[in-house]
């Protein structure tokens, strides 16, 4: 700016995006995605509680299972699972965007865009089924 430049007129402050955080459906979805972190952390705490009970003996483990079977805990677990599944869908979308380009010397996978989004979900479901089979005592 030169020494003789005209002084600037006062500006009005910047306004935040319209509809943020929950007034517009796409921002609402984004906030839900961010909120999945709370529920996934809660799920991890639940798992740790189970592992802690497992380490204390059979009575503690059975007590844990009985506690988790109470209606309010089951509802919470279902909500946690629901948020986790929403996270999986949205995270696969991020992965698709990363996978759609060259990263350093690694070229983009030779897959059409729709398949780049669907293929990981197929992989996830396969692993879920295997893990459930292990937990169910069918595999190990």
């Amino acid at each position: 700016m030169s020494a003789h430049a005209a002084p600037r007129t006062p500006t009005a402050p910047a306004r935040p995006p319209s509809g943020f955080p929950v007034g517009f459906y796409r921002y609402r979805n984004y906030i839900l995605f961010a909120a999945t972190s709370l529920f996934m952390a809660l799920g991890c705490i639940g798992l740790l509680e189970g592992l802690h009970a497992l380490g204390k003996g059979e009575a503690a483990w059975n007590g844990f299972l009985a506690r988790m079977a109470r209606p309010h805990n089951l509802v919470l677990s279902v909500v946690v699972l629901g948020f986790t599944l929403y996270f999986v869908i949205r995270f696969a979308w991020v992965g698709r965007k990363i996978g759609a380009g060259r990263i350093g010397p690694v070229p983009r996978p030779p897959l059409p865009m729709p398949l780049l989004g669907v293929a990981p979900i197929g992989g996830f479901v396969t692993v879920w089924l295997v893990l459930l089979a292990i937990l169910g005592g069918l595999l190990l």
């Binding site: 500006t11 910047a14 995006p17 921002y27 060259r102």
Partner: protein
Amino acid sequence: MELRKVKFEVLRFRPGQDVEPVFETYEVDCMEDWVVLDALNAIKDDIDPTLSHRWSCRMGVCGSCGMLVNGRPVLTCAAFVRNYSGTIRVEPLSNFPIVRDLVVELDSFVEKIRSVKPWIIRKLEKDVGEGEYRQSPEQLEEFKQFSMCINCALCYAACPVLANEPEFVGPAAIALAHRYNLDSRDEGNAERFPVLDSHDGVYACSFANECSQVCPKHVDPAMAIQQAKLTDFLEWARILPKRSFT
């Protein structure tokens, strides 16, 4: 052609006159094929000549006429009046200070674009006599999408991160940096790395994806940012050298 009376609620801000922005309502006789920009020009021509707004090409290539229409960042030259019902609300782009009415201060945006050095950087320029830089169609495809940006700043208006962190480099600048980093002729990764790797660089993005939703040129800056994040990490961790791969 039939005319239709449409009400427009337009945000006004006149420094020295308005303490803060206020809405004013105008009733405009709109033709069937009008866009919002036509209505704004009609307001300025026939109703209120004090209204200020930016526009130029009228055909979606210059990026000048970006505004919020009913809360959504659009190019007003591409927003058809017939696609809206009721009163149409027109505001200046969010996340930017307002100079006057629908005109925002874009200095920070321009500075961010400049900061990523959006030009071919080479250690050694080829002598003209040695011929042109050759690039295959496949090499062009790698970055072509990200070169389509018209600097309209709609993505900056849509970004929820910028509302809270105005220093965030932003979608257009990162997409442009990524465009040059992917260009086979470029060797300037290391020069752009400090800006991309900074706290206000790629990692400030939290993948709202709203930038890609509003982009009128389908640049998909969110995609560029996510790819840039992984590339940046690999360079930060010294798994990849900080240079372009040709």
